[in-house]
């Protein structure tokens, strides 16, 4: 993953943003950059207070928090490694203490370490599974008792179309993202009776800094697959998350929504 700081640019909120998430508190993991940043800011644009974690770059994270505060909501950045069970518990406790509750959990943090299977190292496998799959479990595990107790909550997991279809060179990533899909469905069943919506979004190739730095070949291949003929923006993914976190989607659970311009059809 690139360590370049995201240039500050105009953020386009949901078409017709409202106050439908006013007073809600949301955790967005990996919310300091890319798709996660767009999700955090769009939730903020619709009234939610937001908490994001960061691993190393406190500067990036505090910039997002400042943007959120500029929108008029509260924000909190917590240093936490999503792969750590203790960190997840600690972050959820900190968010409840600082922001007064927890209503929305977006498991967005993810990494990739691509390699064909005959060259993949054990470290590459373990690292991706630890962040992308176990990280998602860690936060759901920490938030679930709160959601169960209050009889409401929204969980949105960010998976990938590659978790549905498989992808050359991504055995670790696709296994993790496929695992997130199954996890989403199981948790939807387990928490349904407590009125908790659990869904996932599966983006295709999205115009993030990470992708901007990818080889031209990667973009060209993706563009040849995408029927809408363009890459999606982080905001276009974020708008779908906002919908899923709103009462407009209150009867939707266990769904995997593909946001890919028809890349995987």
């Amino acid at each position: 993953m690139s360590e370049t700081t995201m240039e500050s640019k105009a953020f386009s909120p949901t078409p017709s943003p409202g106050r439908e998430l006013a007073g809600k508190v949301a955790i967005v993991t990996g919310g300091s950059r890319g798709i996660g940043q767009a999700i955090a800011l769009d939730l903020a644009c619709n009234g939610a207070h937001i908490a994001i974690n960061y691993r190393r770059s406190a500067a990036e994270a505090s910039k997002v928090i400042q943007q959120a505060e500029g929108i008029g909501v509260r924000g909190l950045a917590v240093q936490a490694d999503v792969a750590s069970f203790e960190n997840a518990q600690g972050m959820v406790e900190a968010v409840v203490a600082e922001l007064g509750g927890l209503h929305i959990l977006v498991n967005n943090a993810g990494i990739n370490r691509d390699s064909v299977i005959w060259k993949m190292t054990e470290e590459q496998w373990d690292e991706v599974i630890a962040v992308d799959l176990k990280g998602t479990f860690n936060y759901i595990r920490a938030a679930a008792p709160i959601f169960k107790e209050q009889g409401s909550g929204k969980i949105v997991n960010v998976t990938s179309i590659n978790g549905l279809r498989g992808k050359f060179g991504q055995s670790n990533y696709t296994a993790a993202k496929g695992g997130v899909i199954a996890l989403t469905k199981t948790i939807a069943r387990e928490l349904g009776r407590f009125n908790v919506n659990v869904n996932a979004i599966a983006p295709g190739l999205i115009e993030t800094d990470m992708v901007k730095e990818a080889p031209e070949k990667v973009r060209e291949l993706a563009l040849s697959e995408i029927v809408l003929g363009r890459l999606g923006t982080p905001e276009e993914v974020a708008w779908v998350v906002t919908f899923l976190c709103s009462e407009r989607a209150r009867h939707i659970t266990g769904e995997i929504i593909t946001v890919d311009g028809g890349q995987y059809l």
């Binding site: 949901t14 078409p15 017709s16 469905k185 939807a188 069943r189 349904g192 009776r193 009125n195 029927v227 809408l228 003929g229 999606g232 923006t233 276009e236 993914v237 708008w239 779908v240 906002t242 919908f243 407009r248 989607a249 209150r250 009867h251 939707i252 659970t253 266990g254 769904e255 929504i257 593909t258 946001v259 890919d260 311009g261 028809g262 059809l265």
Partner: protein
């Protein structure tokens, strides 16, 4: 408002989910055209929309007749000058076992029941999409939302309905592929068991068993399907095409 100034045609807009969708769209700023065979239902829906200060055009017509469908499209263009959104909502069911064995006698689902359901649900979706796409192609903008059902996954007593609703999914994906180049997104909502006249007749005992299978342990509301229609028809869903969105309280999870 989510659908400010958009012109939206909702088929089967006189009752149930279609009526809830038309009202929702009007409240979100859309100018709506509602079509239906039920003239009284249309009038009542139009009154609701007008009372909510919405603009509405009412056309009586069948989604299975090419001349009727063309007449509705023409009416939309004549009244509002554009057509940006089509909600293919009109649908019927005629439930029966394909073969029902009673007292040693085998009774068969009729051709009429097969043809009616497949015609309205599947051919109607095809026809309305085809004719609505003509102005959408010229505008280089369109949003079509079809209506499938959890029935598409198979349901005893609904061979005709299931086949038609599974067909709608294949149609949705194909139209998404064919029309992406014109900036027309085609998606599909698949409601679960929803409180409408279609489910009002479910016997108490069956209903209890059904609720036990729904993670949210309740039926859906027409308004909840309308909200999904509005989302997929809006620019909030600008990067979504060819998708099937189940709005079913989780009943289809794992099926």
């Amino acid at each position: 408002m989510l659908l400010e100034d958009k012109v939206a045609w909702i088929t089967g807009g006189g009752n149930g989910i279609g009526r809830a969708t038309a009202l929702r769209f009007a409240r979100e700023g859309a100018r709506v055209v509602i079509s239906d065979l039920d003239e009284q239902g249309l009038e009542a829906a139009a009154q609701e929309i007008t009372a909510a200060e919405g603009q509405v055009e009412v056309v009586v017509g069948s989604v299975t007749e090419r001349s009727d469908v063309q007449r509705i499209v023409d009416a939309a263009l004549a009244k509002f000058g554009r057509l940006e959104i089509l909600i293919n909502n009109a649908g019927v069911n005629r439930d029966a076992l394909v073969t029902r064995v009673k007292d040693g006698e085998v009774r068969l689902m009729s051709d009429e029941h097969w043809e009616l359901v497949v015609n309205v649900n599947l051919k109607g979706t095809w026809l309305c999409s085809q004719l609505a796409a003509v102005p959408m192609i010229a505008q280089k903008y369109g949003r079509i939302v079809n209506t499938s059902s959890i029935g598409a996954l198979g349901n005893i007593g609904q061979a005709n309905y299931a086949a038609s609703k599974a067909g709608v999914i294949g149609l949705t994906k194909t139209l998404a592929l064919e029309w992406a180049r014109y900036n027309i997104a085609v998606n599909c909502v698949a409601p679960g068991a929803t409180k409408t006249s279609m489910t009002a007749g479910i016997p108490e005992k069956l209903l209890e068993g059904l609720l036990g299978k729904i993670p949210f342990q309740r039926l859906g509301e027409a308004e909840e399907i309308a909200a999904a229609h509005a989302f997929l028809a809006s620019d909030q869903a600008s990067y979504i095409t060819g998708q099937v969105l189940f709005v079913d309280g989780g009943i289809s999870v794992g099926v």
